[in-house]
Symmetry: C2
Subunit: 211 residues, 2 copies
């Protein structure tokens, strides 16, 4: 494998290999070179392993649901978190997608429920509020009457736009709306923090008490 093909002239001796390379290289971040390496790897794996992989991918399209309440991916009508009686239903954390949900779950700091928007408002990409799961969170607040809605969105232009839009809509209800703290990262050295983050962390300083 030390001699690597010049792919402008990629000539396959097998259509089957070519199709597999084409299909894998449609993934974001996977070029033909990497795809070919993956194909060569798969060719040497047992058939059952390859079948298992193929099945797992197909199930993503055929068996996956979106939770009817919070909108996260789920194997059932309602997700594990929404069905868990130990979760605090008076606290809803709004996130962009299920990987952000997983990130928050991984902190083990949140015991409420979630609401997945399925994206962020982005005029650049043509994504407006109606393309997102926003109406459902308003409906949920109206019906469930939670105490607080935490908006846990990325600190980007799209995140801030969505934050503003959703917060404004939620203000119509009798619910506390909060935003996750922005400041210097834990372990971050001050001199390397960008000035915008550092400026915000000064403005949004918290009182430090010794108990």
């Amino acid at each position: 494998m030390a001699l690597m093909p010049i792919f402008a002239l990629m000539q396959f001796t097998s259509q089957i290999v070519e199709q597999a390379v084409e299909a894998l290289s449609s993934f974001p971040g996977i070029g033909k070179r990497t795809a070919l390496r993956l194909v060569m790897y798969l060719m040497n794996r047992p058939e059952i392993e390859v079948t298992h992989l193929a099945d797992a991918l197909i199930k993503l399209k055929t068996e996956l649901h979106l939770c009817k309440r919070c909108g996260t991916v789920s194997d059932q009508e309602y997700c594990d978190i929404c069905r868990d009686p130990r979760r605090d239903e008076t606290l809803i954390c709004v996130v962009e997608d299920f990987s952000d949900l997983m990130a928050i779950e991984a902190t083990a700091q949140f015991k409420g429920t979630y609401h997945v928007l399925g994206g962020l408002i982005s005029p650049m990409e043509g994504i407006g509020p109606s393309d997102l799961n926003i109406e459902a969170i308003l409906q949920r607040v109206k019906e469930e009457g939670p105490k607080e809605v935490i908006l846990a969105l990325s600190a980007t232009v799209e995140g801030d736009t969505t934050l503003y839009y959703v917060a404004k809509k939620l203000n119509e209800f009798d619910v506390v709306v909060s935003n996750i703290a922005r400041g210097i990262s834990v372990g971050g050295e001050l001199e390397y923090v960008d000035e915008i983050t550092l400026g915000r962390s000064l403005l949004q300083r918290t009182q430090y008490t010794i108990n």
Copy 2:
């Protein structure tokens, strides 16, 4: 997606997603983080595209042949190159695997046929001559009586070991055995070439004639 999960505590709300991530992260060079990104990408693709990918992968195990003559991957009993009457059958180029074959095809400098070893001799990895497609090349030389066998193997310890072994075996037959040239790369600046390569390129210098 800016908040990324800490995967030590990766908690999925869906087994289907988890299985797909597990299956994809078994690929070499693909970690769970990348696998999750690929899964999220696939979830947003049309079902037909995902099915197509899954089929392409399964076919790698169920429909792929090794050419009965040269050992490269093929959709049929004999590969396109072996079935092509325009290829020079008196010239056989021995390569490690089909991606090296593709690399040579891409140069458009070779019009003979190939022989794919399926690996290199590597005592470190426990790969001996009997694990490779070496007996078949000897048999082919005996039966087909080619003029020349070109050994086009990587310039590594494993490549050199295999080169020596195969060349020694081929010496028993009335056939010219050659090795691809090793020297400085085209476009390579002399001062950056490693000393072993530069030394070889001096010893194996070729006469330069102006016609």
